[in-house]
């Protein structure tokens, strides 16, 4: 599996993503600088977390307009797998590859904690190593992860089965206290219609090593590895 990690000024989970991809794929990912306009031929493009351009106007807004994102959109439309985590998810909604928007957390505070997620669809390239019946445990760390979509859009996302993950408790139940940011329908991650683009607020790359938080995140990269190699 050949991969690329996009690096914006202000990205700060780029190294974590690089390590996770390298460990799983056994190959060094291409680190692609935001100013580059050439995208190497890869099987998966990852947009890491962080605060691209300081996230000063709106999270992900400036990154979505950078030259390299035009390339990413083109590749995504041709079917290349694209994974956006945290700030990367925000970038994907801002550039229109994914529907909806990510707003300030309902608590108005940054939140970093481990959360449980239901896996809504385990038939995709990103998720087929997961079980639908067992919640996974990964971390969130964001100030703007409150998923919002207009009613019609939300109905479409739900109707087409585009929800990838929802926040749940350890038993897999969708309860309010398990939702760290107020997201509609407890949405933690969504696919595009073709299921080749995934955006999620939680950080699978921080859970790709038992010493730092378990393996539940690693399974996502292993799914990709299985599907794309």
């Amino acid at each position: 599996m050949k991969s690329a990690v996009i690096v914006f000024p202000g990205s700060n989970c780029d190294r974590d993503m690089q390590v996770a991809l390298r460990e799983v794929a056994g190959k060094e990912p291409h680190m692609v600088w935001h100013g580059d306009s050439q995208m190497p031929e890869v099987d998966v493009i990852a947009i890491p977390g962080g605060f691209s351009y300081g996230d000063y106007l709106r999270c992900g807004a400036m990154a979505a307009n950078s030259p390299i994102m035009r390339e990413v959109v083109a590749k995504a439309n041709q079917g290349t797998a694209v994974l956006g985590v945290c700030n990367g998810f925000q970038v994907l909604t801002e550039c229109g590859l994914l529907p909806g928007a990510l707003m300030r957390n309902a608590s108005l505070k940054f939140v970093c904690r481990e959360v449980n997620l239901t896996v809504e669809d385990n038939t995709t390239a990103f998720t087929f190593n997961y079980s639908k019946n067992k919640p996974i445990r990964v971390s969130v760390a964001h100030g703007d992860g409150n998923f919002f979509a207009e009613q019609a859009t939300l109905e479409k996302i739900e109707g087409e089965g585009q929800v990838a993950f929802r926040y749940c408790n350890a038993q897999g139940e969708l309860v309010d206290t398990a939702n760290p940011n107020g997201s509609m329908n407890a949405i933690a991650g969504i696919f595009n219609e073709k299921r080749n683009v995934l955006g999620m607020m939680p950080h699978p790359e921080r859970h790709a090593d038992p010493a730092t938080g378990g393996n539940d995140g690693r399974l996502l990269f292993e799914s990709l590895m299985g599907a794309l190699s």
Binding site: L57, R58, A61, M62, T93, L108, F148, E150
Partner: protein, 79 residues
């Protein structure tokens, strides 16, 4: 030439920040604050002095960058 852009959440979008401000105001004894919404104001200093051209260019800036029209409305004032 100066322009001012107001970016506000669409009426249908929940504004937790505005809500928090209102609760805090009421808590401070300002019971007269019935509802609060918070938005952004962006002040631009522009080259050139053609108001119509400025309005057009700022409109393009809003569509491209300054506002996310899924959740936000914007309004432009050329000063």
């Amino acid at each position: 030439m100066k322009a001012r852009v107001f970016v506000t959440l669409k009426p249908a979008v929940l504004d937790p920040q505005g809500k928090a401000i209102q609760t805090a105001l009421n808590g401070l004894g300002f019971d007269e604050a019935l509802s609060v919404r918070q938005g952004k104001v962006i002040d631009l200093e522009l080259a050139g002095d053609d108001a119509a051209a400025a309005e057009k260019s700022v409109g393009a800036m809003c569509e491209k960058l300054l506002a996310n029209t899924i959740i936000e409305d914007y309004r432009i004032e050329i000063l």
